[in-house]
Amino acid sequence: MTHVSSAVPAVGAPPSKRSWGPALSIVVRRLLGMAGTMLLASFVVFGGLHLAPGSPISFLTQGRSVTPEAIAQLESQYHLDEPFLVQYFGWLGGVLTGDFGTSIIFNDSVAALLGQRVVNTVTLLGVTAVLVLTLGLAVGLLAGLRPGRLARTLLAGATGLMAVPGFVASVVLMLIFVVRLGWFPSYGTGDGGWDRLHHFLLPAVALALASIAYVARLTQSAIRAELRSEHVQTAISRGLPYRFVIRRHVIRNAAVPVLTVAGLTVAGLIAGSVVIEQIFQLGGLGQFLVDSVQKKDFPVVQAICLIYVGAFILLNTVIDLAYTLLDPRISLGKKG
């Protein structure tokens, strides 16, 4: 994989000089790749309409009685009287300017409907990200730096937790903290401030649990690997203070790859949040997506799928770029 420049660490090594030319070219190349992937994803989300059984207009209306104006509206929104590619680019142009069309059920602009709900999804994912990063890293550090019975117990627990899907965690947490103890409300979003956090904490824990376990195991094994490495052993045998070695060499070297995978894990929770939102009725995009699939409100389904996939691609690209640019051991100019 990567190459550590010298086995004997120079204490307080000067920051390596690097030119920003190759870094810039990497950024540009990744962003272009991201744009390509997003284009392809949007094509799949759009093209699905034509894969569905029946004609697009009958699929969109699903046998509901629709006024001729509404049909004309749908036809102009999807440019149905034009060739396929023109339809696609017309739709894409709308999406890029924030026009996701009109909901068939609510007869309101999709963008406005999503705007009310996106805050709830962002809150859920934000609280979850904080939980995964703090608890996962803390447990992993503890287990990595203090091997022993506690570490083994924590790791065994983490391995078990990784097999628990979010919806099972929700059921168990609800049973304990809502039904038996009555500490948390069973659903809803709360009235702002602490009440809001109070409503979102349990769903966030349910969503985060398996990822906390995964990040903890990952952190632990990264710390153990660094502790075993030659430059750390050398630093310890030279009599450098243990805390200094841990801070300067172990944690510093383990940080970037661990944070990268932890970030990607959090990005991967976007899809899982759909299920959790549905269970706790959090009124976010995920719950709206499930509702809209059930009510066959395809413009909304399309918009939410596109937003989720877009956010997932964006997060992945940003994390990947940060990893490439931050880790001085990765030689720029070469791929990955």
């Binding site: 790749g33 390509g36 699905g48 168990v172 039904v179 899982g272 549905q278 699939v293």
Partner: protein
């Protein structure tokens, strides 16, 4: 001529064993759990007398007892029968996902490696693009387009899992392709298909099986989650994920058995699959 072929690792045959070894205690226990679950799905329905779909509202939420070994659900249906019958859909779904994704992913990975060049970069582009779709999201989109059901969910997840398999096979096969035995086989005039299928594939097979095992666990979770929110197995058909979903209201009403028993089966199966997959992965890396 054939002397060269016999030195390739592919042609060395190991004695056939029924029960795998080298998995450690955890792996053996996991394998035992999986055999039990598989028995539950295959012969279980013949041993359970009760009808999993027989509704009798006067027996709603019965506790476990003589007539209902595990009690009943909100509609008075026998829980044991539902769990046993539900294991069929809960296990067959992920099995098909893994078979389809592994088959197509392996073919894609081997093809990309053998031809290299633009075929390879096209394959990598495709893999990256499909990676952008989380499995659950693709399955929800499929449910919106083709109607909710197990078939749509299984096909969507197969597509979503394909890039994982293809990427693993590609990187492993890439290493094999540069080994001397492949060059030797080419000199003998063996066609690319035969080298890929009969020599490279057997050498990466351990890795493929280990990854298929891990994929089975993820697919089981994803399909159960989809059935849970109503986009997978449709009622009244029994399925572990759907049973947890149906039991959610019972949890709030103080009758959590339905949700808990099905949850326990899901967690036990996934934990066993994950442990076994980890061990298989370690073993395949050790023998490489």
């Amino acid at each position: 001529m054939s002397a060269i072929a016999t030195t390739s690792r592919a042609t060395r045959r190991r004695p056939l064993r029924i029960w795998p070894t080298g998995l450690g205690a955890g792996g053996q226990v996991s394998l035992g759990v999986l055999v039990l679950v598989a028995l539950m799905a295959t012969v279980g329905p013949f041993l359970v007398a009760a009808d999993p779909n027989a509704v009798d509202l006067s027996y709603a939420y019965e506790p476990p007892g003589r007539w209902f070994p595990l009690g009943t659900d909100a509609s008075g249906r026998d829980l044991l029968a539902r769990l046993v019958y539900g294991s069929r859909t809960a296990l067959l779904g992920p099995l098909f996902v893994v078979l389809i994704a592994t088959l197509l992913g392996t073919v894609l990975g081997l093809t990309a490696v053998w031809f290299g060049g633009w075929v390879d970069s096209l394959a990598v582009r495709f893999i990256d693009a499909v990676f952008a779709f989380p499995g659950i999201l693709l399955a929800i989109l499929a449910a919106a387009l083709f109607g909710a059901g197990l078939t749509a969910a299984v096909l969507a997840l197969s597509v979503a899992y394909l890039p994982y398999v293809a990427r693993v096979v590609r990187s492993a096969a890439l290493q094999e392709r540069n080994l001397p035995y492949v060059a030797a086989l080419r000199v003998q005039g063996l066609p690319g298909f035969a080298i890929s299928a009969r020599h490279i594939l057997p050498n990466v097979a351990g890795l493929v099986v280990a990854n298929a095992t891990l994929c089975f666990g993820w697919a089981l979770i994803d399909l159960a989650a989809l059935s849970f929110i109503g986009f997978g197995v449709q009622p009244p058909t029994a399925d572990w994920g759907a049973i947890v979903g149906g039991g959610l209201s019972g949890v709030l009403q103080g009758a959590p058995n339905e949700a808990l028993f099905a949850s326990a089966l899901i967690v036990a199966t996934v934990a066993a699959v994950n442990t076994l997959g980890d061990r298989l992965l370690t073993r395949s890396e050790a023998t490489r």
